[in-house]
């Protein structure tokens, strides 16, 4: 095992013990990134100088006898929709191509306070809108397991960077599956926390009632450590919860005897690739062998989650993205620089946004417009209530819910770009979790023709501890997380 294969927890211990310096760990990471990234296109921006200076500070901290934070000296990557003061942040959009944030996201402050070393910003679908990373203004990310294949989206760069051993830990955002699905496609752990668990301050907003920030890691323990660092109330995000933050890693004891795992059999019976089904069934059998109790449950409204999600998320996006108008930051169309003002707005937005973002702004504007609001937007919000009730009812009798993360294994780049609706249908198992505000974690559970398959564990609100404990117990019983992609 080389340094790039080390888990974040082990690497932090190496640095604390003095067997590796933070600067050495940082250099190895930067070397790995520069050799792997030409094939992957996982990074929009790398900041060697800042990272090495930060790592040197960690080494000085250790030399002075100070205790290292829980991520002391660990190199991390951030999705390019998380603001870092002074570091270019684009959301993979032409409209923000030159944006330099004047402030740090709260998660960035917390990660750096914990000793993490930010090495760069990862590629993603533009404004986190997509399921294949093909909507980036900087080109798609390639899956490290097969370069002709999508890494998933929208946080495809973060997932690929962790899978390809560029960094042990990366962060993304999940509005409808954008952490869990790319984690599944790249064979890593990806956690979407409960809505309100992590502050969204400094995350470029897509759909504010659904967005959450979370970690990608190669082990459940690393994801648990990362969550303890970033979770908690923040006065700058009024939706961040005051609920106490436990030491999530301390709860990973491998014991899941008697844990009740709900399986929505009817919901997962249709449209699932045979190889995904086989891997999912084997994962359930492993949980049962470890002492969990499998319980059939019903989620009668889950079948409506995709239309509900795409009406609500686009409505919120159309409002959030109104701020990109060529005035306060970012790109302004040269064609309309002399006005009039309204022409400058509309030319800037047409030239600055990519096709998928425009499609979603249009859809969201439509469903909020007079005459269609009740039929689409309000109706979707009502069905959202029914969906939440389905989960509440399920959680009255089970501790976690298990289902595949994606109905299909990773698909080829270009396979679905011509038909947006077909792309949306792939989000069938992830979007309901955001609509209900629940935590969900992807865990690797198999391969199909050399490409990773994952399944997700969904918990009650603010019960990340239980899904992480079950995920960790599964990881202890299997070797899927140990596989490394063939990329050299």
């Amino acid at each position: 095992m080389t340094l790039v294969d080390r888990a974040a927890r082990d690497l932090r211990q190496d640095i604390a013990d003095g067997t590796v310096s933070a600067v050495e760990a940082c250099r190895v990471t930067l070397d790995r990134m520069s050799s792997a990234n030409p094939a992957l296109n996982a990074f929009n921006h790398v900041d060697d100088e800042r990272a090495l200076a930060r790592a040197a500070a960690i080494d000085r901290q250790r030399a002075a006898g100070e205790r290292l934070g829980p991520l002391g000296g660990v190199p991390i990557a951030l999705k390019d929709n998380l603001c870092v003061r002074g570091m270019r942040t684009t959301a993979s959009s032409k409209i923000l191509d030159s944006f330099i944030p004047p402030y740090d996201a709260t998660v960035v402050q917390r990660l750096e306070a914990a000793g993490a070393v930010i090495v760069g910003k990862t590629n993603c679908d533009e404004f986190a809108m997509g399921s294949s990373n093909e909507n980036s203004a900087y080109g798609p990310v390639h899956n490290p397991w097969n370069l002709d294949t999508t890494p998933g989206g929208s946080s495809g760069g973060s997932a690929a960077a962790v899978a390809a051993r560029c960094v042990p830990l990366a962060f993304g955002s999940d509005t409808g599956g954008s952490i869990r699905q790319p984690a599944s496609f790249c064979g890593v752990v990806g956690l979407k926390p409960t809505y309100g668990r992590v502050s969204r301050y400094g995350l470029l907003a897509f759909a504010s009632s659904l967005d959450q920030i979370g970690p990608f890691a190669r082990t459940v323990a690393d994801a648990a450590i990362a969550l303890s660092v970033i979770a908690g109330h923040d006065p700058n995000d009024s939706t961040s919860a005051t609920t106490e933050v436990p030491d999530y890693a301390a709860g990973l004891n491998g014991d899941i005897r008697g844990v009740r795992v709900g399986v929505p059999r009817a919901f997962v019976s249709e449209g699932v690739d045979d190889r995904v089904r086989t891997a999912f069934d084997a994962a359930l059998a492993t949980l049962r062998d470890r002492g969990a109790v499998l319980v059939d449950i019903e989620l009668p409204h889950a079948q409506f989650a995709i239309p509900v999600y795409y009406l609500i998320a686009t409505a919120e996006a159309s409002s959030n993205l109104a701020r990109y108008d060529g005035v306060k930051y970012g790109f302004r169309s040269a064609a309309a620089k002399d006005g009039p003002l309204k022409t400058m707005y509309s030319r800037t937005r047409d030239e600055g946004f990519g096709a998928e973002v425009k499609r979603r702004i249009m859809l969201g504007t439509y469903v909020l417009s007079a005459g269609y609001y009740d039929a689409f937007y309000l109706k979707a919000q009502q069905v959202r209530t029914l969906l939440r009730r389905d989960y509440e009812q399920a959680f009255a009798s089970v501790d976690v819910v298990a289902m595949p993360t994606s109905p299909v294994p990773p698909f080829r780049l270009g396979e679905k770009t011509a038909d947006p609706l077909q792309m949306y249908l792939g989000d069938v198992f992830t979007v309901s979790v955001n609509l209900a505000g629940l935590p969900g974690v992807n865990v690797p559970c198999g391969f199909a023709a050399g490409l990773p398959i994952g399944f997700q564990l969904i918990g009650r609100m603010f019960d990340e501890a239980t899904i992480l404990r079950v995920a960790d117990a599964f990881e202890r019983a299997t070797d899927w997380h140990k596989a490394a992609p063939p990329l050299g």
């Binding site: 005051t242 239309p307 425009k358 249009m362 209530t385 609706l421």
Partner: protein, 101 residues
């Protein structure tokens, strides 16, 4: 629900301040119609008397998220203007093209 026309798409684009190209209009008309037709299935769900969920933390009853309305340090004007494509930095203003065509 009536099917979407190019005129509908032009109307929505105007509301959203998007000046679509001639290529984009028919493409978006078809794609948005596909998505809206798919979303029609929601009409079959009985939602009479069901309240709308705008936000999950309203249901959670989480209190204490409002802070006191007290002045706090905010972004310096120079920082706020730093990313502007056009600004009158000395005056502390964003500059825009003429408003009236």
């Amino acid at each position: 629900m009536p099917s979407l026309t190019i005129a509908d798409v032009e109307r929505i684009a105007a509301l959203a301040h998007l000046e679509l190209t001639d290529d984009e209009k028919p493409l978006f008309t078809r794609q948005l119609a596909d998505i809206l037709n798919y979303a029609e299935q929601l009409q079959a769900v009985d939602t009479s008397g069901v309240p709308a969920t705008a936000h999950v933390n309203t249901a959670r009853g989480d209190q204490g998220v409002e802070r006191a309305d007290e002045p706090r340090p905010s972004l310096p004007v120079a920082d706020a203007l730093a990313n502007a494509p056009d600004a009158a930095r000395d005056a502390g203003l964003f500059r825009v093209p003429r408003v009236i065509g």
